[in-house]
Amino acid sequence: MSAPRLEGRPPQAGPHTHAPRPRLGDMALVNIALLPAALWAVYLFGWPALNLLLVTLATALLAEAASLWLAGKPVRPHLSDGSALLTGLILALSLPPWAPWWIGVVGGLFAVVVGKQIFGGLGQNIFNPAMLGRTALLVSFPLEMTAWVTPRPLFTEHAPSFVEGLRITFVGLPDLDAVTSATLLDTAKTAVDQGGTIHGATGELFAGIHAFTGLTGGSMGETSALLLALGGLFLIWRGVIGWQVPAAVLGAVALLATVFHLIDPDRYLHAGHHLLSGALVLCAFFIATDPVTSPATRLGRILFGVGVGVLVWVIRTFGGYPDGNAFAILLMNALVPLIDHYVRPRIYGRDRRGAPLDTGKEGGR
């Protein structure tokens, strides 16, 4: 066989081999891990949810493609990395399932263009794009963004038909109030704000098992803590995400909620309610673990996760919004450069401050 062509080629530094490339990249695995929860949400909320999901995904992908094209970057390889799809999927899962189509479009555009591409594309953004998109929607369109419906599983009595679904998504609901209901966190907040206790409010509305399987009102991604947690565990098993962030987020919320619930059960929700309601599980396993917008070290990630957890609980308990995942994530995203600056591994042969280790032996040479 022929001799190698060596002369005239610029030398390359080692290593001259590489870890085997997995058939599915990280992004693809995260998308796959989210799929069961997404399908379950579509089943629960029917055709309008599917419409919104598709609209949001299409918008995210088109916005990504257009931005890449404008920036003069190759479209196909960047688009196929699955990151825009993931942003769209997470955003869709954080929306009210019967929201009108333009919510998905505005959110998708904002998330991808402002949240990611303006910073320079994949890997450059400071804030989680999906959460930026959701926050922009929440503060701009509070009415549409809080219109939760109770689950009406496909092919059941009260489920909207395919045509009705199209009308709900693309024309709008004739009578929003008729179908919406408050989520557990809404109810709890309203009750406490009005000086009552949370017992009466939650007792009838909430049964733990419902939240666990998804048979409750809320955004698509709030519906099944079980499927989301399974997806997250799958990612930890495959080494895509570390256990640190989810454990820190859930642990912080659970700890705070337990302590305060013990102090005053009338005012503070039980830890189980906190963990299983809202988008906390989605947030802990799929949003706070976004590598781009979380710290680089293990300790940094634990700090980040604890910060997210504390903020979620604080916003839920004392803030103006019933759920605080998006705000907590964005606030902690802003702190990531700071965490990365201060939390660094100790370098071999140096102490924590970077000075060479003292051998306790002078002039050994």
Binding site: Q12, A296, T359
Partner: protein, 505 residues
């Protein structure tokens, strides 16, 4: 049971060792020409002491070491010196290095080197002197003169000699085969080195993927409490000096210092074998065991190779290439060096020569960093490769330096795991070079400024001297003129007086 300590990070690349690990070491037929570079070690290059046309014996000195950190070079075969010239070095750049070219005559007449009757009874300094004159350098790849290290251990009061049999690089099996086939000789070399470095105990660290080598070495060392064979976990880069010291002693070499600071000296098993040969058989370092491997090679194997053999001769002896190699490397695939041609020679630090196919290299297009931090997990030093690379991309080399760039051992674990295929080590090599170049440029500018200032001082001094001389001349002229004027006045006065007298008269 020996207590082992953990190392941080690291990776586990596919080993690819089986094709060569099961075959005994073979002797390579003498090539037509041997090109022996005079700079095969860290430190000052040797100086040629032979003339063109001269016949040399095997083991005869052809380059003498210069200064404290240097090593002499010996003829790898008997034959005629046909050239002393600049020839491409076994270095990624392919830049020339002064080399002695020998045409072997096949007689293999050995130069006479005396052998001490009992090295273990000699003064340690005398052993180091022997090692130095035999041209022995670190055979693990760094090629640091071994005698200097032995002396460092002695003067620093070393208590532990570590013999590195880690061989954590994929493909390479030269140390494995050496330990299996010549364990007695290696252990003898270890004993001599332990004596020479003044250490109480010698620990031989071998990765546990080489059970036969561990067994052979344990048998050879049996009954000697001062020499212990320790199986260390198989985890790249266990064979790196810093990691081996950490695994066996639990201590870290302080940044910027040598292991002697900890009372530890570290040598390669190949070096121990070379020491045995030099002190027991009077053979200077003129050959070594080299793994010829890689997926592109038809029949990979281990050879005992004279220094100076061109790489091409090694591949030819293995039946040539079964597939066109994507690249040819000296050393293993993780830390090995890119070779610019097949004409460059094997040197003292060459542990392996491997030809990799494109499928083995697995070069994929570079994608953006998504900060997945796998590089942080893999780094055995505790650096943040992703952060350093992002600084270097922005040409902010100083910032990369502050993040610990100079502590990077270039093991390649970070690049190996990177799912975005970012050439992190290449970035670090580049930035390390930039930092060095910058320091050199700064020194140069300040040196030039000093020269210019000195010139200014000189010019001023010259001008002052000139001015002083001119002033003096002026003064002299003035004095002369004044004297003349005074004389004239005097003369006039006299004349007037004379006239007066005449008139009066």
């Amino acid at each position: 049971m020996f207590r082992l300590f953990g190392i941080r990070g690291g990776v586990h690349p596919e080993e690819h060792k089986h094709p060569t690990a099961s075959r005994p070491i073979e002797t390579l037929p003498l090539p037509e020409r041997l090109c022996v570079p005079l700079a095969q070690h860290i430190g000052a290059p040797a100086e040629a002491v032979v003339k063109i046309g001269q016949r040399v014996l095997r083991g005869q000195l052809i380059g003498s070491g210069q200064g404290r950190v240097s090593a002499p070079v010996h003829a790898p075969a008997s034959g005629k010196v046909v050239a002393v010239d600049d020839l491409p070095a076994p270095h990624p750049s392919g830049l020339p290095v002064l080399s002695v070219v020998i045409e072997p005559d096949g007689a293999q007449d050995d130069a006479d080197h005396p052998v001490p009757s009992d090295p273990l009874a000699m003064a340690p300094e005398a052993i180091a002197d022997f090692v130095s004159r035999a041209g022995i350098v670190g055979l693990g790849g760094a090629a640091f003169p071994s005698a200097v290290k032995l002396n460092l251990g002695l003067s620093g009061g070393a208590h532990t000699l570590i013999i590195n049999g880690g061989e954590c690089e994929p493909y390479l099996t030269c140390d494995d085969r050496l330990m299996r086939e010549r364990a007695e000789a290696v252990i003898d070399g270890v004993r001599i080195m332990r004596h020479a470095s003044g250490a109480e105990v010698a620990l031989i660290g071998i990765e546990d993927n080489k059970p036969s080598a561990i067994e052979a070495m344990r048998q050879a060392a049996a009954g000697d409490d001062a020499v212990q064979v320790v199986a260390v976990p198989t985890r790249y880069p266990m064979g790196s000096e810093k990691q081996m010291v950490q695994a066996l002693t639990g201590r870290e070499i302080p940044a910027g210092k040598l292991s002697a600071q900890l009372g530890v000296v570290l040598h390669n098993v190949g070096t121990a074998y070379a020491v045995h040969r030099a002190l027991r058989q009077g053979r200077p370092l003129v050959s070594r065991i080299v793994t010829v491997g890689g997926g592109a090679v038809r029949e990979p194997r281990n050879f005992e190779v004279p220094i100076g053999t061109p790489l091409k001769a090694l591949f030819d002896a293995c039946g040539g290439f079964a597939e066109t190699p994507d690249r040819v490397l000296m050393g293993g695939p993780m830390m090995g060096q890119w070779m610019p041609s097949l004409e460059v020679p094997v040197v003292k630090g060459t542990s392996g020569v491997i030809a990799l196919t494109a499928a083995e290299v697995r070069k994929h297009p570079v994608q953006p960093c998504i900060r997945c931090s796998r590089c942080v997990e893999a780094c055995p030093v505790g650096l943040l490769p992703l952060e350093m690379a992002s600084r270097i991309r922005k040409s902010d080399y100083d910032a990369a330096g502050k993040l610990g760039l100079t502590d990077c051992i270039a093991c390649g674990s970070c690049s190996w795991v990177c799912p975005s295929n970012i050439p992190l080590v290449h970035f670090f090599n580049f930035a390390k070079g930039e930092l060095v170049a910058r320091r050199a440029a700064e020194e140069r500018t300040s040196g030039l400024r000093e020269l210019a200032e000195k010139r200014q001082v000189r010019l001023e001094k010259e001008a002052r001297i000139k001015a002083e001389k001119a002033a003096q001349r002026k003064r002299e002229r003035q004095a002369r003129a004044e004297a003349k004027a005074a004389a004239e006045r005097e003369a006039k006065k006299q004349a007037r007086e004379e006239q007066k007298q005449e008139e009066e008269a």
